[in-house]
């Protein structure tokens, strides 16, 4: 018998390998290596369990999901289970042939990320020569096949001034949708936070560029604007509530309520190699830790908005206050709100710590 409503979507992080090294990457600082990655047959079983549980959409992500040779087979399997399949990719591994294989496997949609609109800006973030050109070519190949395309831009202090051009590019490339997403400070993004933090003036200009583009493009381009967390005074309903809508499976098979949850201390992270997905969703300590409202401290407990934002983000509360149970300090009602205000004003330029595997100077790709 189902006790908690089933999840809507699954984020399948197939690998942490990636040819790029974005300093805002939301992946954890300790990346899973190739040897610890799940096998094809494990992912097949996860997809089957997810579909049976009630998952409707699967987002193949990573790292770079296209670094896995079994991606078309997994897309095909997911499609045959009637799951809506979305590929979240940097696009640098897209060619006629790799795209054809995914299209023929039944892929429903692609979300292609760009680091910037200028080549210099993009290479400074991604660290890969020629990446911008490959991404532009990838977008054209995707549209030539008629596959629906969303462009994704992560916004930070070094590219925030070019939001208008990003939106023009999305329109020019024939994307139906574009995400202008302010950096969320998890993983590598948290490590590089002050170097990524835009000024209040940059933020206002970015927002203004979005408003103007909405008027300019109307229905021909859907713009999804993800507002910044730290410049706000009410938190977002992180993941639609802990353990309510969303499941994340990491490359090594850990099952998490959000992609940053591995930072939460003193709890075991259930693994698909040991438990069924449904059992983890319903019964694991991790998924029940912050489910619903019973765990909430004051001021959340007596707040009228507690079932609107679910107390905000647990990983953010942990990162900023040292306590994962605290009210998200983004909230103006939190007694720690001043740490967010201070961080939002602490932005400055400098040298990034690029995303890489520990103990190596470079990124694994092949």
């Amino acid at each position: 018998m189902t006790r908690f409503p089933p999840p809507m979507s699954l984020l399948a992080e197939l690998t942490h390998r990636c040819p790029l090294a974005c300093p805002y990457c939301s992946n954890p600082l300790s990346l899973d290596r190739r040897q610890s990655e799940l096998e094809t047959q494990d992912w097949v079983r996860i997809l089957e369990e997810a579909a049976a549980l009630g998952v409707l959409q699967v987002h193949f992500s990573g790292g770079e999901p296209m670094a896995r040779a079994d991606l078309p087979a997994l897309v095909h399997h997911a499609s045959s289970l009637n799951l809506y399949t979305n590929l979240i990719t940097s696009g640098v591994l897209i060619t006629q042939a790799t795209l054809a294989a995914l299209d023929e496997a039944g892929l429903d949609h692609i979300q292609l990320s760009f680091q910037d609109v200028t080549e210099t800006g993009a290479e400074r973030i991604g660290g890969l020569r020629g990446a911008q050109e490959r991404k532009l070519a990838a977008a054209r190949l995707i549209r030539a096949r008629g596959l629906p395309l969303t462009l994704n831009f992560v916004i930070h202090r070094e590219n925030a001034d070019r939001v208008a051009q990003m939106l023009d590019l999305a329109h020019e490339l024939g994307a139906g949708r574009v995400e202008i997403a302010h950096t969320q400070y998890y993983g590598w993004g948290l490590k590089n936070r002050d170097l990524l933090m835009p000024s209040a003036a940059q933020l206002d200009a970015a927002t203004d560029a979005v408003v103007k583009a909405r008027a300019r493009f109307g229905n021909s381009l859907a713009i999804d604007y993800v507002t910044p967390d730290y410049h706000a005074d009410q938190p977002k309903p992180c993941m639609g509530g802990w353990g309510q809508r969303f499941l994340n499976v990491t490359p090594s098979g850990k099952v998490l309520p959000c992609h940053a949850a591995e930072t939460i201390p003193d709890v075991t992270f259930p693994n698909v190699m040991e438990h069924a997905l449904g059992e983890i969703w319903q019964d694991s300590a991790l998924f029940n830790l912050f489910r619903g409202t019973a765990w909430m401290p004051e001021p959340c407990q007596s707040c009228a908005l507690k079932e609107i934002d679910w107390g905000g983000c647990r990983c953010q509360a942990l990162a900023l206050t040292g306590d994962a149970r605290a009210t998200d300090p983004v909230c103006a009602r939190s007694d720690r709100h001043e740490v967010v205000v201070a961080a939002a004003e602490a932005g400055h330029d400098g040298d990034f710590a690029y995303r890489r595997f520990t103990g190596t100077g470079r990124n694994e790709t092949g």
Partner: protein, 91 residues
């Protein structure tokens, strides 16, 4: 806005109707979201297959539900126009 009855509506790529057996509802799957189709919308959309004309769909519904054709036609056209506006259907 008014759509001709000989037009052939179909779901655009990236959108589809599907039955959710776990939750016992019909859904429209779209990039990044799934919306619930209410029973009336689901009855109409189940007939949208990219082959039938709007006129045929209206005839079939009028027959199945034994309802005045005009009323059915109005409902169907309103729904199709709204979903076409959102680029979920191509009319």
């Amino acid at each position: 806005m008014s759509i001709a009855e000989d037009s052939i509506p179909g779901f655009t790529r990236g959108h589809r109707l599907q039955q959710d057996r776990v939750r016992d509802v019909w859904l429209i799957q779209a990039p990044e979201k799934a919306f619930i189709a209410d029973p009336v919308a689901a009855a109409i959309l189940r007939l949208v297959d990219g082959k039938r004309s709007l006129g045929t769909i209206i005839d079939l519904l009028a027959e199945t539900y034994q309802a005045p054709r005009d009323r059915i036609a109005a409902d169907v056209k309103t729904l199709v126009a709204s979903l076409a506006e959102q680029k979920i259907l191509s009319p």
